[in-house]
């Protein structure tokens, strides 16, 4: 509001300091109005034109949203009803229509394709549960631990963020090197230095242990995010709550249980959901660790769909699996939001 109120013709908006309506709320209109009519020529601006402006400004974003998300999604759904193989990848609209064949194939657990999808789904559920739980636990514990200031806290926090700051590609490839059986650091430490795991070196990148290798990398990669979010949330808990609790004789553990954790409720709700979605869809970790054919024990749904689409070139089946996965994630998310939302309402009502 740099221009003098006197340049505003009467009736075009509230000048600064007017008792009706705050300047901030109508500032844009006021400023624009003034710029537009420096001489105060025309009177009332067209209401329609002014209300169209926000929509015009939103239009690029809407179009981008359409391009980036909606169109590919619709294309994916269309592909899932076709027998789309390498014969048609240059122009998939020519691929023959097969109705729900791809879906039947994906869910028929009596045949190898459906069976393998179910197996990988189960693997993914277990992996996601463990990874999210560990990330949350580690993140919360570290956040509570660094809540009060002490010498070296800044350095420690910075160190905690390292995995989050590193490019995922470089980090996971490094892990893949460390998990190598004969030359990797992991076996060197476990076997040579700690004497664990028997005489033979352990395989981490093939066979059953690949699940644990993948979980390790996933938790390492994601827990700093939980730490970041919880740390931020902790800043919002008023210090007097703790002071009052301490005066009442509450110990550290009681303070955490009665003050810290309940205050984190809303943040945790979002945090767990985001971690769940990220982990469930995680493609980088298994792909960079194991390449295009992951061991059965580490065959996550994301990798499995990739294999169906790009390794065996059954793009239609891969699309059907993707749609099923999307539906599952939507359902889980909706149920989760409903449940946690109700839980919070109950708590508020009490």
């Amino acid at each position: 509001m740099t221009s003098a109120p006197s340049t505003v013709p009467p009736g075009t908006g509230s000048p600064t300091g007017s008792p009706t309506g705050s300047a901030a709320a109508r500032g844009t209109g006021g400023v624009l109005a003034r710029v537009r009519r420096p001489g105060g020529g025309s009177r009332r601006p067209g209401r329609a034109r002014r209300s169209a402006l926000p929509y015009l400004l939103l239009l690029p974003a809407l179009l981008l949203e359409l391009l980036v998300h909606l169109i590919p999604m619709v294309m994916g759904i269309l592909m899932s009803f076709r027998k789309l193989t390498q014969f048609f990848i240059r122009d998939w609209s020519r691929a023959p229509w097969t109705g729900f064949d791809n879906y039947e194939l994906a869910v028929d657990v009596n045949r190898p394709v459906g069976r393998a999808l179910l197996d990988s789904f189960a693997t993914t559920c277990l992996f996601t549960f463990l990874s999210v739980a560990l990330c949350w636990l580690l993140g919360t514990a570290a956040a509570v631990f660094t809540q009060h200031s002490f010498r070296g806290r800044g350095l420690l926090r910075a160190l905690f963020f390292v995995p989050y700051a590193l490019p995922a590609y470089a980090a996971v490839i490094t892990w893949a090197f460390m998990f190598q059986r004969d030359n990797g650091l992991v076996n060197h430490v476990l076997h040579d230095q700690l004497g664990l795991g028997g005489a033979e070196n352990t395989f981490w990148l093939i066979g059953d242990n690949s699940f644990w290798a993948m979980l390790t990398v996933s938790v390492w990669k994601s827990w700093p995010f939980a730490f970041l979010i919880v740390t931020a949330a902790l800043q919002n808990i008023p210090g007097d709550l703790y002071e009052a609790a301490a005066l009442d004789g509450a110990g550290v553990w009681q303070q955490i249980r009665r003050i810290t954790l309940p205050s984190l409720g809303a943040v945790n709700q979002v945090l767990v959901l985001v971690l769940f979605l990220w982990t469930f869809n995680d493609f980088n970790t298994p792909f960079l660790l194991f390449g295009r054919s992951a061991p059965e024990a580490a065959d996550l749904v994301s990798i499995h769909i990739y294999q169906s689409s790009f390794v065996t070139w059954n793009f239609g089946t891969g699309s059907a699996m993707s749609v099923l996965l999307l539906l599952f994630l939507l359902l889980v998310t909706a149920a989760y939001l409903l449940l946690t939302g109700r839980g919070r309402k109950d708590a508020d009502a009490r």
């Binding site: 093939i206 790009f310 390794v311 070139w313």
Partner: protein
Amino acid sequence: MRRSTATATAAAVTVAALLATATGCGGGSADGAGSNSAPGELTYWASNQGADIAADQAALGPELKKFEERTGIKVKLEVIPWSDLLNRILAATASGQGPDVLNIGNTWTASLQATGALLPWNAENFEAVGGRDRFVASAIGSAGAAGQDPAAVPLYSMAYALYYNKKMFQEAGIEKPPATWDELVETGRRISGDGKWALGAEGANLANNIHQVFVLSRQHGGSFFDAAGKPTFDTPANVAAVKQYVDLMAEARIVAPGNAEYDKNQSLQDFAGGRTAMVLWQSAASSFKAHGMKEGDWGTAPVPVPAGAAPGTGTGVNSMVAGINMAVFKNTDNLDGALKFVGFMTSDEEQKILNGTYGSIPPVKAAQSDPAFADQDLTVLRDTLATSAAPLPQVPEESQFETTVGTAVKELFADAAAGRPVTAESVRAKLAKAQQQMAN
């Protein structure tokens, strides 16, 4: 009024720009058969032939420079590792945004031909590179499905051989390389021990797994596809072949368990470092040298055959027809230049230089008869190619076969390495699963 005009104009421009982006996404000429709208430049995706990508850049750089000096066409080179190459080609095919000229593994040719993205080599196109008759027939046979114009032109030919470390053989008192599988196992048992292993393998390398079990399957009288091109992965002959290969680790114990996770030619390093005494590999000489071996440190022999057989046709097959083909993307915007470049790379002169560098055999007849390709190493490879190598099935599903069956073998190696039993039944189950993945 000026303001709203400006806003509307801005919005209109934004929308137009977005629409242009949207419609531009498809990109390129979707179905065109190439044009010459950019005659001064070519993009070339080369497969990784040397010890590493830098070695390829060093080997190809001067040749590309030579081509540029002669024709004025600049070639932008990108060397792509084998693990990425098929995916990159697939993405380029789907998007229409690819290189002008590219290398493909000759076993993928029929699969990629089926996408319709590659320029067919009809008589006219062959004429541009000196005619079809310049090439060895078996190499042309692995450049596309039978009865169609080839989808590529052969560039390097290779065959499998048994490479052995002469010093390690001497120390173990072994005089000649094994000629049959029984001899290989027996020799292997004498060498294995004290941290040394007899044979190297690449258990997690899908393509290599396929090459090995394909040959063994032929030796058992089997085949992974029937005459109609339908997969027949879990036949008894194929089960026996796969089990025989994995048993070199599981039962004979002449392959180090750690090889189960190898997929980046680590077995060649082990061989060059004197940790394993033998490898079954295609045209490995240049890699051995890159890892510090000297000519004469290793010997070359034909891949073993079943007892009582000799290398030849039928059950005597002891190699796949290995090699690299050169293809042109149909929608190139420099068709003439692309043909010129293929002609240059397959010229007699360049064939001698490049195949000499990589230790492969020229698929061009005139270059192959050059005395440079007549030493002991290359004679074994050349004889194998000429008499006892068979091409992998040239069916559109070939690349899926590589990944599904290759993965099955990888998982069986993982079982063997972990000490779990590898039985005929477990092999059959894995092959049946691989076949089901193909059938949908």
